[in-house]
Each structure stands twice: as structure tokens, then as C-alpha cells.
């Protein structure tokens, strides 16, 4: 049975209710998402029962270094600069905001000045209320400074030059770059290095990772940014989600390996099944 005849046989089952995209991977994507949702529900139940074990998170040096960098800022009496990335609300920005809430609690606890640089005003508004709440939670509402939450520019390099200026003028002791970064990543990282700041980067742009590995003291790799909130809070619910994510990853690795084997022996069955509808 070739691909065209398989597609013709499958299409009538789904065409009335399931959307199809140009790559014909709607069915595979839908099934994978459905399985992921089922895993999420399963691990939610596991996580809410404290007697049931969850996978342990391995050490992530970049996240451990957050406390070290804030400690250094405390000793030096210089500020921490936090940059939550170049995108508006998206998964990397939410990851960055999760880290920001932890950083804000620590800076409030140790009386360190926290400066936020923002490209999108909507992110600024949410981050500002998050940070303010962290300061209130730590019992230091007066230590929060609205002036330190700065909208710089909507323009990519306008924002970058503003951020570079702040890092260097304020002589930041720690420079945290999380979220989604683009061509300005190296400008920001080098500005921090010139100011002598401990730099921790965690971002999701594959093209920028090599620059940040070269220029920063610590760099979170790949999806470690999304692990940050679970790692920093050691929260069982969030850890459970990571377990679900890892199971999907194992399934995808198995698909890639079996697809490679099938193709090696002259069969395109696995690939064909993935692009049925």
C-alpha cells in the first residue's frame, strides 16, 4: 500500500472534523498532543499524592548560579539587571517571568537593587506587578522602585543599546538574560562582560546559543529555561509536567531511531504514517 492510497483511505475519517495543514501532519500532531494531555493529567494526579515518587531533577549549574550572582551583587552593593527577552508573551517569556519572580524574591530578601529592561510594555506591566508582589511577600514593599522597571524601546537595537547603557552605567554585578533573544544577544552579553558582571543566559534561539556560551559565565541549554521554575521552586506539580515532557521526548527519539532504521532498510513506513493527514 503506497502513501497516496493510505491517505485516500484515511482522509474520509477525519476530513469533516479535523483540520489538515499543508505538511499533512495534523493527525500525528493531534495524537501526540492528546497523548501529552493524558500524561499531564496522569502526572498531575501523581504529583498531588505526596507518597508517590517523582523523577529527581539533575543539577543545572546555570540555575544554581542565580543565587551566587545575587550574593555577589549583595557583597558588591551593585544592582542585578534582568532582561526577560525580546518577544512579547510567548512560552520563553513566561519561562523568563518564572525566573524573574524567583530573582525578585531573592533581591528583596538581600536588599539588592533589581533593574528590569523591557522591550514590550505589556511584559513590563505584568513583570512590574509580579516583582512588586514578590517584594510585598518578602515584607519589603518600600524597597520596590518603579523607576527601575524600564521600558526602553520597541525597536530591537534601540532596546539593545538602552540595555547596554544601563548595564554599563549602573555597573551591574549580575546580568540575567532569559527568554527569547535574537541578534542583540551578543551585544548584551559583551556589555555585561565589560561591566564585570556575572552573566547567566537562558534563551530559546538556537542561532544565539553559541554566542552566549562564548560570552556568558553560565548558559542554560535548550529547554533548561522551561525547567527553571520547577527547579527553583522544587514544586511537585511542575516537576510532574517535566516528567510528562520527557516521556514524549523518549517517544520522539524512538520514532526518529525507528524511522532511520526503516529508511536504512528501504522502507518509508514510519515517515508515511506521520504524514497521513
Amino acid at each position: 500500500m503506497n502513501l497516496a492510497s493510505m491517505r485516500a483511505a484515511v482522509a474520509p475519517l477525519f476530513t469533516s472534523w479535523l483540520k489538515s495543514d499543508s505538511n499533512q501532519i495534523s493527525l500525528a500532531s493531534f495524537l501526540l498532543f492528546g497523548f501529552f494531555a493524558a500524561l499531564v493529567i496522569y502526572y498531575y494526579r501523581v504529583a498531588t499524592q505526596s507518597s508517590r515518587p517523582l523523577p529527581k531533577l539533575r543539577r543545572i549549574a546555570g540555575l544554581d548560579a542565580i543565587d551566587e550572582s545575587i550574593g555577589r551583587a549583595t557583597e558588591m552593593g551593585r544592582p542585578v539587571v534582568f532582561n526577560p527577552g525580546m518577544s512579547s508573551f510567548s512560552a520563553p517569556t513566561y519561562g523568563a517571568l518564572a525566573v524573574l519572580s524567583y530573582v525578585a524574591k531573592q533581591t528583596a530578601r538581600y536588599d539588592v537593587r533589581l533593574i528590569g529592561c523591557f522591550r514590550y510594555p505589556e511584559v513590563l506591566a505584568v513583570a512590574q506587578s509580579t516583582i512588586q508582589a514578590c517584594y510585598v511577600e518578602e515584607g519589603k514593599p518600600d524597597a520596590f522602585r518603579t523607576d527601575d522597571m524600564r521600558y526602553l524601546s520597541g525597536d530591537q537595537f534601540g532596546f539593545a543599546s538602552g540595555c547596554v547603557g544601563i548595564v554599563q552605567r549602573e555597573r551591574a554585578a549580575a546580568h540575567h538574560m532569559f527568554g527569547s533573544l535574537a541578534a542583540e544577544a551578543l551585544l548584551l552579553a559583551e556589555a555585561g562582560a565589560a561591566a564585570g558582571a556575572i552573566q547567566i543566559a537562558g534563551q530559546t534561539n538556537n542561532l544565539q546559543t553559541p554566542f552566549l556560551v562564548a560570552a556568558c559565565d553560565y548558559c542554560l541549554m535548550v529547554e533548561e529555561l522551561y525547567v527553571a521554575s520547577a527547579y527553583l521552586t522544587q514544586d511537585r506539580l511542575r516537576t510532574g509536567m517535566l516528567a510528562a515532557q520527557d516521556i514524549i521526548k523518549v517517544i520522539l527519539i524512538a520514532l526518529i531511531l525507528s524511522g532511520t532504521l526503516f529508511v536504512t532498510f528501504g522502507s518509508t513506513l514510519i515517515g508515511d504514517l506521520l504524514i497521513l493527514y
Binding site: S101, T130, G154, E184, A189, E190, T204, L225, Y226, Q245
Partner: protein, 209 residues
């Protein structure tokens, strides 16, 4: 209340967008396209005003308290007011030639100038990174040197094997690693989105706990 309402709103909007992505349900498809997507534009437009207010308030404080380099705040507020007035009141708004003249001849050039600094920063960051301090950094140093030599004509002139090794490093080693990253990032993003959707992730809703 400050947490519950945003959670309910984000859960509802998220579920509707997922249903819209996968299923052919006209009422949901239309609602997602006509209302939800437009509501993003409306909220972003309001947020733009908020950003401007933040910026101007900060620089007015700079001026009023005569902080260091407060003179530049005059420039920023002046330029902001000028471009805002041109963009709103000139015929054609931002498409007006007068507005475009300032945008194309100042803004674009300044952005290009800042971007061009990246090449110098690249050299200084490579100088710090490419040092044989450990096994990993030595591998990085050697592979970077091969890729650099293999990318320029003089590399092929020295030894014809350099471009071949460079191609192997980029196409086999580098590409496969990047694809692995992409899968991890997609799954991580999906996991983050699901955590936001069901309210497990609350870092952006006040203090997170």
C-alpha cells in the same frame, strides 16, 4: 481574585485556540479569528501607551531631579514628541514622506550602527571563549579553528581537506545537534504552555506561589 480572573481568562482563551487549531468547528474558528486574534491587537495598542507613559515619566523624573546626564532626557522627550506628532497629524500618518525621511535616515541608520558592533563583540567574546582550559573548551577551540579555516579560500589552498571537514562539522554534527535542540525546545515550550494553561505556572501572576 487577582489570580483567579487571569487564570480563568487564559484557560478559556487557550482552550479555544487549541480547539481552533485542530478542529473544524465554525463557531469556535470564527470566534478565534474574529475576536481573540483582534483582542491581542487591542491590548497591545493599549500597552504601547503604557510603555510610552513609563518612558516619559522616568525621563521627566530624571530632568526634575537633575540626575547624571539628565540633558539626554530632554533629547529623548523632544524626539518622542516630534515623531509622535508627525505620525498622528501628518497626512498618511507614518507613511508620510516627512515622517519616513526621519525614520529612514536616522532610526534605520542608528539601528544598523548598533548591529554592526556585533562583529567587534564577536571577536572579543571568541578571544575569551577559545582557550584550551579543559577538554571541552579544547574541542570547541579546535572545531572552531577548523570551521573558520575551512570557510575561507586560503583554507582550501593550505589543505583541500579543511573545507570537507568544515562541511562535515556543520552539516552532520552541527545540524543534528540543532535539530535535537529544536525538538527539546518545542517540547519545553509545549510543556510551559500547558503549565500556564492549567494554572500550574503562576510566576507571571504575582509572586508565583
Amino acid at each position: 481574585m487577582r489570580r483567579t480572573v487571569p487564570l480563568i481568562l487564559s484557560f478559556t482563551a487557550g482552550i479555544l485556540m487549541i480547539l481552533d487549531s485542530y478542529f473544524k468547528i465554525p463557531i469556535i474558528n470564527n470566534f478565534a479569528t474574529d475576536y481573540l486574534m483582534r483582542s491581542i491587537s487591542v491590548s497591545v495598542a493599549w500597552a504601547a501607551g503604557l510603555g510610552s507613559l513609563n518612558l516619559i515619566r522616568l525621563h521627566i523624573r530624571h530632568i526634575s531631579s537633575k540626575r547624571q546626564n539628565y540633558q539626554f532626557s530632554y533629547v529623548l522627550i523632544g524626539v518622542w514628541l516630534f515623531m509622535l506628532t508627525c505620525g498622528i497629524f501628518l497626512q498618511g500618518n507614518t507613511a508620510n514622506p516627512f515622517y519616513q525621511f526621519f525614520y529612514s535616515n536616522i532610526q534605520v541608520n542608528l539601528s544598523a550602527a548598533v548591529y554592526s558592533l556585533a562583529s567587534f563583540y564577536l571577536a572579543s567574546s571568541c578571544y575569551r571563549a577559545f582557550r584550551a582550559r579543559s577538554v571541552e573548551s579544547t574541542v570547541l577551540l579546535v572545531s572552531a579553528a577548523i570551521v573558520m579555516i575551512g570557510s575561507v579560500p586560503v583554507g582550501a589552498a593550505i589543505w583541500s581537506g579543511f573545507p570537507a571537514i568544515q562541511g562535515w562539522l556543520l552539516k552532520i554534527v552541527n545540524d543534528s545537534v540543532i535539530r535535537g535542540w529544536s525538538i527539546g525546545l518545542t517540547l519545553g515550550g509545549l510543556s510551559q504552555s500547558v503549565r500556564n494553561l492549567v494554572g500550574i505556572e503562576r510566576g507571571h501572576l504575582q509572586a508565583g506561589e
